[in-house]
């Protein structure tokens, strides 16, 4: 493999720097192993997490506009393709929809540029890590890089909401019957469990007002995945991960919800790191409420005797 790693600007977002550090680290490690390098843009602020659904709320676009602007400067200074890679579903949704809004209505961009006293030219294309793997690297190429046998894992992809919706603006995959995570998991050699709850909502920010509701919704998802025979869930969103994981952890003591026992929730990059034969030490499995290492042990031990594909 050549040492020249493709330089891709990267926007982490607040959660990835704190509660979901394992997600970021595993993604960065995997990127290096695959052949590109994610460079964090120099200064960035929180994107606002939720895109303002009311059309006249321009203030909600100010933060993402600032980020896109920083990314644009980053790319122009280095004369590279104007891409911006993201990991968190919320950031991806907000940034991509902001970009879409600017393309749809250039007036909005004009107003914001005047307000921010800066000039964003609208060149940045927002890309999700998964999208980059699918469109630039290619899942078939990814499959060739796999070093560990993952076939003992029965995992259910869980998409959540904001990665896919609204389809018109996100244009990543079908919002009702998505396949991108399925294809990804197949490529790295897992057994994929297709279950109907894959696009249901985990409760999202309702955790602030109504944790009971989140508990109920998360439970339904876990229960469904369990009924379809999954050992673990795989997600791309730090909030989905924490809602599912924490509610499962919280629930263990109560009799109110029964049925699911210790189903771990992975970030897709954590599994990718395992499959690529990387050291998973820094990927913070210990921060999960439900310990994921036990179901990984088969794959990790097999890591000592990796698949003999390349010989």
């Amino acid at each position: 493999m050549s040492k020249n790693l493709t330089h891709v600007p990267y926007y982490p977002g607040c959660s990835l720097k704190t509660k979901a550090l394992g997600y970021e680290r595993s993604a960065m490690d995997c990127a290096k192993a695959i052949g590109f390098e994610m460079h964090e843009i120099a200064t960035w602020n929180c994107c606002g997490a939720s895109f303002p659904l009311t059309k006249d709320n321009l203030m909600g676009l100010a933060a993402p506009a600032n980020i896109l602007l920083e990314a644009e400067q980053h790319c122009q200074e280095r004369e590279i393709d104007a891409n911006l890679i993201t990991l968190c579903s919320f950031c991806y949704n907000t940034l991509k929809r902001t970009d879409f809004a600017f393309r749809e209505e250039p007036k909005k961009l004009e107003t914001l540029n005047a307000f921010l006293k800066r000039q964003y030219q609208g060149s940045i294309k927002v890309v999700h890590y998964l999208e980059y793997l699918r469109d630039v690297i290619g899942f078939d190429n990814l499959a060739k890089m796999v070093k560990r046998d993952m076939s003992s894992l029965r995992v259910a992809p869980y998409y959540g909401c904001l990665l896919l919706k609204p389809q018109k603006e996100m244009a990543l995959d079908d919002p009702e019957e998505p396949v991108i995570l399925h294809d990804f998991l197949e490529a790295i050699g897992c057994q994929v469990v297709d279950f109907p709850g894959q696009v249901d909502c985990c409760g999202s920010y309702l955790i602030m007002r109504d944790p009971e509701k989140v508990l109920e919704l998360s439970h339904n998802i876990l229960q469904e995945a369990n009924d379809y025979g999954a050992d673990a869930l795989v997600t791309a969103c730090p909030l989905c991960q924490s809602n599912l994981d924490q509610s499962e952890g919280e629930r263990r003591g109560s009799d109110h919800y029964i049925g699911v026992q210790g189903m771990p929730i992975f970030y897709f990059t954590q599994l990718l790191a395992v499959a690529l034969g990387l050291d998973t030490e820094p990927h913070q499995f210990e921060r999960h409420c439900i310990d994921p290492t036990s179901i990984l042990s088969a794959c990790l031990e097999d890591g000592a005797k990796p698949i003999e594909a390349k010989k």
Partner: protein, 129 residues
């Protein structure tokens, strides 16, 4: 409780301008309600029905608007390209512009703030405060 000091008609106009949605486009098929994971009650289609009937006060005071979590299932499935999620958010905004926040920042508790994911706090503050 009287939130708006306006007629229902002008309040509806304000909502439509703010959200960019046209309430009268809805033909009450109920797909939004069927898909709503928050099981809102009154449901999104009923809220829109209130608006169409001129019962703006009833819609803006519904407790159910606060259980929407913006998953966009309703907007995605609407055959008439209406976004119930946007209308609900518009109602929340109009409510918050005139009434007290639904979440008191400093009453959230240290444990919640220390343990919750940043994006949940940020989104929650955007929607409930």
């Amino acid at each position: 409780m009287q939130i708006l000091m306006k007629s229902n008609q002008s309040a509806l106009k304000e909502l439509e301008l703010a959200t960019g949605e046209i309430v009268s486009d809805c033909y009450q098929c109920g797909k939004c309600t069927a898909g709503c994971p928050a099981s809102m009650d009154p449901s999104p289609s009923v809220l829109i029905h209130y608006l169409k009937l001129g019962l703006f006060e009833k819609a803006v005071n519904s407790e159910s608007i606060w259980s929407c979590m913006g998953c966009l299932t309703c907007s995605e499935r609407c055959p008439k390209n209406v976004s119930p999620a946007a209308i609900v958010e518009g109602l929340k905004r109009l409510h918050l512009n005139r009434m007290k926040p639904r979440v008191i920042l400093h009453a959230l508790g240290q444990e919640f703030l220390a343990n919750s994911t940043q994006q949940a706090v940020v989104s929650g503050f955007r929607k409930f405060v």
